[in-house]
Symmetry: C2
DNA sequence: GGTTGACATTCCAACGATGGGAAGGTTTAG
DNA sequence: CTAAACCTTCCCATCGTTGGAATGTCAACC
């Protein structure tokens, strides 16, 4: 089986298969006389395992450990469970982070009229919401925030940023 | 004010300030005779704005648009709100993705004994859980590809993956 | 034979946003 | 004078994945 067939059969792109081989997640594939990689059903099986693990969000190092355990008949299910638990903990941290952002943004959006007028609590929050409080005398700092800055501060930033 | 002061005052690292300038998110800073970048209070104000937006998870292109609106006295709050809504939608998509992973993993972990034995529903799921079912007639495809390639499939994957 | 199309190979670059470090110039304090 | 603390630019790394270019190979068709 060539890499294209293995890719279709496993759901892992050929690019990724080569990448996984390069970083050592899977063993180097055997080669035909023409240097094409050859895959067996067992290899496809492994690739499907990896793909499923990737779909569940496991990192490459974690997947490496899972594959090792998978191949080890003397493994303890506790070791597998520990990797999963570690991953779940990371996911939950990330979810909480994102949820905090959503909560803050929805609160701001709720207070924003969303009409043609320029007044906007969202921008007001961004402007002054999270000063890292370098000094306690923030109030006296800038009597006039922007303006001034001739030759700068006005233009750019927009458009084809990316 | 040099970049170090601007960094401390804004909470944006000097590295990031230079990066934002390079990609066009902020205008090129004025330079002193010694080529050092010079920042005004207004610049720091902008950097704080950017930092707060970054903390809320906005992408660089989104931040570019927000800064443009912020500077535009004729802006509509609806435009700002639209960017926020777009971002919130993206966050929610991501949260749902992660929550689906957590749900699947917790279900598997719940069924895993987590003891010294090798039996493990987590590995069983990874092994067979997500076959993409490519075609029904995989078997008849190719009688013998070529070169045959014994001497594989067993080793590696483990160890210094990372 | 020649040509075309679908494969395969390698290498290089990019994305988000950020950090790290090298190699060198400048300023400031002792 | 010297050492520390800045600043500058440039390159590299992350993480997982995709894209492309340039080249090689194979199969089929005319």
């Amino acid at each position: 089986m060539n890499i294209g067939q293995a890719s279709k059969a496993s759901g892992v792109s050929a690019k990724m298969i080569r990448y996984y081989e390069r970083i050592g997640l899977i063993a180097p594939a055997a080669r035909e006389a023409n240097r094409y990689r050859v895959y067996t059903e067992a290899d496809v099986h492994t690739l499907r395992f990896i793909r499923r693990a990737r779909d569940l969000g496991f990192s490459i190092p974690q997947i490496g450990r899972l594959v090792s355990l998978w191949r080890d008949p003397k493994r303890s299910s506790a070791d597998v469970k520990a990797i999963a638990a570690e991953h779940v903990a990371g996911l939950k941290r990330k979810i909480q982070e994102l949820q905090a952002m959503v909560a803050a943004l929805e609160d701001l959006a709720r207070r924003c009229h969303g009409d043609h007028r320029p007044e906007c609590p969202i921008l007001e929050d961004l402007e002054g919401g999270a000063a890292p409080a370098p000094e306690p005398d923030c109030a006296a700092k800038r009597a006039r925030p922007a303006a001034s800055g001739r030759a700068r501060a006005a233009g750019a930033t927009a458009g084809g940023v990316r």
